[in-house]
Symmetry: C2
Subunit: 245 residues, 2 copies
DNA sequence: AGCCCTGTTGACACCCTGTCAATAGCACTT
DNA sequence: AAGTGCTATTGACAGGGTGTCAACAGGGCT
């Protein structure tokens, strides 16, 4: 998310860029005013714009970013942004996708051993992911989406669902029961919440968070999943007729 | 982009506005075209606009609601919206406050009886709140805020903290230990996640959600809180050095 | 060199937000 | 009842941001 392309840092003065010879693919604000119109491969240009957008959207909220800002950062004109991404929202979606969706890569862990060991393994897997890029992770998965945009929702939901399936897999359960999936998605929220408390405010450490997540998941496995089907019908909450707050 | 100002969409039909005798305080779209300029007490007008905004913002995302929509729904002009709330975001903040901030009023419930009963009472209290305005509640507390708006963040965080304190109170625990508060805030995320699954997707019903929340909270009370202090230090997650997303 | 494909631009039209002086309800006085 | 004053409410205006499109020009090819 953050590109950490800390400004000073050899961007303009020292090495590179001898004189008036800007790297055409220079991503960020290398755009003194100097660089004339340079023609790039569509793929390269797309990537470059996307990288800049990644940085910008990480810095301030969606509404306070204008396509002009995006364009300037990439050293192009607004028109080009729209040419490649259709709309500002389109570009934003690409950014969210890039950040939120954890690759489904390492799926091959054999779920073996007693349940408690599996649960602990699953929790540790999750905490490791968070610990790798704590702040970025929190920013990406928190309430940072654009206001209720259905597509953003969808992406974030997909991310949660992947995590939920992963946990189910670690538990050694088939991941195709929609109710169990739903249940685990809720649990993933607990994980996200706990991680937030861990990373942002410092009152809980990894130890405490781990404890919380392990015991909760154990309770779910022990006391909830087995009786899930015995419970009542699965109606959604009634349509709301608001009265007053 | 999308004009979304499509279809009349239940905006104008239903209740209210029988025939040219509009209740001055009629909340929604009682605005045939009929109602002439009516003068109301500032308080009343504010309330009325707020109620309408509550509904509208619950229906579609912030960015797709225009001040014109808000004004029309309340049967006034845009200017008045700004007169009372300054800005569209200002009105939105009031809405979020109204929905998310559970009144700290009914604090007097005696936390008595066995722990399981208390836990169930607390969970039911929470579910009742959600059930009162399900969709609006989900919209307001989910990732539906204005993208990363600090003020929205603050309100939501405050709301979570209130809920956490409330739960601690129901459990019969003092609500001043920051670590327990933090723990319970994480639990509140589970509650919100579960409520989302309940309201939005229909795979889980209130029964299942209740089960999940009760058992999880029981596990927390039984297995986590007692040993919270025995666990390691409460360092925040290490500062992150991002490599790549 | 000259041509052509296409990446890139600049300007245009539209919508939306926020401001402000002007208008007109409505309660109170005479 | 009519008049008067306070102020709730309006309508028009300015500024800014998004998305569209025909035209321009970079650079590889003949």
């Amino acid at each position: 998310m953050f590109d950490h392309r800390t400004k000073g840092e050899g961007m303009d003065d020292g090495r590179g860029a001898r004189l008036a010879e800007p790297d055409p693919t220079a991503p960020l604000a290398a755009v003194g005013q100097t660089s004339a119109r340079v023609r790039l491969e569509p793929d390269v240009r797309r990537q470059q714009i996307l990288r800049c957008a990644l940085q910008i959207f990480g810095e301030r909220p969606y509404a306070e970013v204008s396509t002009q800002d995006l364009a300037s950062a990439a050293g192009v004109t607004r028109g080009l942004i729209h040419h490649y991404f259709g709309t500002k929202r389109g570009l934003y979606l690409e950014v969210v996708r890039a950040i939120a969706l954890i690759p489904e890569d390492d799926v091959a862990d054999a779920p073996s051993g007693p349940m408690r060991a599996r649960v602990e393994a699953g929790v540790d897997w999750f905490l490791d992911i968070v610990a790798r890029h704590p702040r970025t992770w929190v920013a990406a998965t928190g309430a940072e989406g654009v206001a209720g945009d259905p597509e953003v929702e969808r992406i974030l939901a997909e991310a949660d669902d992947r995590a939920a399936r992963r946990v189910l897999q670690v538990l050694g359960r088939p991941a195709d029961d929609p109710r169990e999936r739903s249940l685990l998605r809720a649990y993933v929220q607990l994980g996200k919440g706990a991680a937030r408390e861990w990373v942002r405010d410092g009152d809980l450490g990894r130890t405490q968070v781990r404890l919380l997540l392990v015991e909760s998941l154990m309770a779910i496995v022990r006391d909830v999943l087995p009786v899930l089907d015995d419970a009542g019908p699965h109606r959604a909450a009634g349509e709301d007729e608001e009265k007053n707050p």
